[in-house]
């Protein structure tokens, strides 16, 4: 099927997207070659100076990037394990099946930034219920103001918020699996563990890869949680790439430099996702 009309379907969407995006992308590239900041606003041309500074004299950016990798890989890994387990638990017969399914979906429907405000009161170090519980054992953990624990808190909130997305994609996948391989497995007398290892997991591999990549893309933008929960602190211990770009661009108004950060960040991201997708396919699809 091939029609002249095909462009009538494609172009409205494509052109609207391009029209809204062309200026921002082009402008960001141009901006990254200028020294626009709050003292000297204007599009001058300083060549690659910003990029030189970024690669030679900005360890904070690379630290933020490392932290982002740590946080997003950890949260997505946990979300996958938990989401897959939950999906398997409510896949087959279980009492109150629909109630549990709805419950497991709810967190992703809630606004991250608003729920993080609530979480912040939950983890409040002197007035919150979590430390009320820990004080029974004479402890007052610093959930938001210790370097290691604040990372843990960010991960916990992210897992609460986004495991449902993983759960939804994987459960939808499980429900669409064909019946025949399971029949064959049960005829061969395979137990639940063997059935999972040899039937369910391989059949779910493409869906798993898709779900992990989608979640990684979304997790790499982690920002709202950090902004409300810790503001990147204490010090810079929960500062991620997005948050660092935000500080440089919209707090310190170094527009030129933050544009260079953005472009570098995007290039690294596109390369990483391509590599990660290739690795996942190698790991999860056997014999190909």
């Amino acid at each position: 099927m091939n029609f002249k009309h095909k462009y009538m379907f494609l172009l409205p969407g494509l052109l609207v997207l391009l029209a809204i995006l062309i200026f921002p992308i082009g402008f960001t590239v141009r901006l990254s070659l200028s020294s626009w900041d709050s003292f000297y606003p204007g599009l001058d041309f300083i060549g690659l100076e910003n990029y030189v500074r970024l690669f030679t004299d900005d360890s904070r950016f690379w630290e933020a990037f490392g932290r982002l990798s740590l946080l997003s890989l950890t949260t997505v890994f946990l979300q996958y394990i938990i989401g897959f387990s939950l999906a398997l638990l409510v896949w087959k017969e279980i009492r109150f099946q629909r109630l549990f399914r709805v419950l497991f979906l709810i967190p992703m429907m809630t606004t991250p930034v608003i729920m993080t405000v609530v979480w912040r009161t939950v983890f409040h170090e002197s007035l919150g219920p979590v430390n009320d519980f820990f004080s029974l054992f004479g402890m007052q953990p610093l959930w938001l103001s210790s370097e290691i624990l604040s990372k843990f808190t960010v991960i916990l909130v992210e897992v609460w918020q986004w495991t449902p997305f993983m759960f939804l994609l994987l459960l939808a996948g499980l429900l669409s699996l064909p019946k025949e391989p399971y029949l064959a497995a049960s005829i061969d007398g395979a137990g639940p563990v063997r059935t999972f290892v040899y039937v369910t997991f391989p059949l779910m591999a493409p869906i798993s890869i898709g779900a992990i990549i989608i979640r990684l893309i979304e997790a790499s933008k982690i920002m709202d949680t950090v902004y409300v929960l810790t503001s990147g602190g204490p010090g810079t211990s929960t500062e991620t790439s997005s948050f660092y770009i935000f500080i440089k661009g919209l707090r310190e108004f170094q527009f030129g430099y933050s544009a260079a950060l953005s472009i570098t960040y995007l290039i690294i991201m596109i390369i990483s996702f391509t590599v990660i997708a290739k690795i996942l396919v190698k790991l999860m699809v056997r014999g190909k």
């Binding site: 606004t111 608003i114 770009i245 960040y265």
Partner: protein, 282 residues
């Protein structure tokens, strides 16, 4: 199935459910507290631990001058922006997805897969990267701090989601449906609008729900691109998150803003159980 295994199963499911509900329960009790019962340490059970008041809930409808939040206007702003952004994204995204699923495009080295990837790859962009150019662009167009400006931005945010879900969906709608319609004398437009579209309602609903979720829950663009004239719900609520936070009105506002989308969870579950979602999500 052994008793041990099934006990373990219910234990796991119950534990996770409690974890899911915990922050909501905390917000619910907190919304009935007053200054005294918040600042004297964590309290849980109304009438036993503290004397409940409706101050938190009342403050939602008072103006800021009276120490309230005036949440109704941001609430409707959020509804308008989310609905308009989702609507436009679904219409344009469905059309584009249909063409990408049915026709072959070849422009130089660019194929269908590349165009689909271009749409979806927009999700990689962190909001913070786009926010500065959007700020300048909307400023030039006089659209800063307007609903229309935000809707434009939300289309960029949401159309990739619509395209992603609808391409997968159309790929599973058999080609024979279109072909029969064409043989019966429809032109391609009639075939799409009269035959394919009515068969795609489940996919469109799923895509619509996802657009609604991601539109309703966005914070950053609304935070950067609006100031005083237009305020969306998340921005209004986070503004409360200052040093001396009125936890009671904060909790009431959080529950108020989260409630509409909880309804969506029931709809999603319904589609999931009917098996309609497996076609639309892959």
């Amino acid at each position: 199935m052994s008793l041990f295994y099934s006990t373990l199963k219910y234990l796991a499911v119950t534990l996770w459910s409690m974890f899911v509900i915990a922050p909501f329960l905390w917000a619910l009790t907190t919304s009935f507290k007053d200054f005294q019962s918040v600042t004297s340490g964590a309290t849980y059970i109304p009438w036993v631990d503290f004397e409940p008041t409706l101050d938190g809930w009342r403050s939602l409808f008072k103006s800021p001058a009276q120490g309230g939040i005036a949440i109704v206007e941001p609430f409707f702003n959020s509804i308008i922006v989310t609905a308009a952004g989702s609507g436009i994204s679904i219409i344009l995204g469905t059309l584009a997805a249909y063409s990408l699923s049915r026709f072959t495009f070849r422009v130089g080295p660019i194929r269908n897969g590349d165009i689909t990837f271009f749409f979806i790859s927009q999700r990689i962009m962190p909001p913070v990267v786009l926010s500065i150019p959007f700020f300048i662009m909307l400023g030039k167009l006089g659209l800063l701090d307007t609903l229309f400006g935000l809707v434009l931005v939300y289309v960029v945010l949401l159309m990739p989601i619509a395209v992603w879900i609808m391409v997968d969906f159309f790929n599973k709608v058999p080609l024979e449906i279109d072909e029969t319609a064409l043989i019966d004398g429809c032109n391609p437009y009639q075939a799409f609008f009269k035959v394919v579209l009515p068969n795609s309602v489940p996919g469109i609903i799923v895509a619509g729900m996802f657009c609604m979720i991601f539109g309703w829950t966005d914070f950053f663009f609304a935070f950067i691109l609006t100031f005083t004239e237009v305020q969306l719900l998340p921005v209004a609520i986070v503004a409360l998150n200052s040093s001396i936070t009125p936890w009671w009105s904060l909790s009431a506002a959080a529950l108020f803003s989260v409630a509409p989308l909880v309804v969506v969870a029931f709809v999603v579950e319904r589609y999931l159980s009917k098996g309609n979602l497996s076609g639309a999500l892959k």
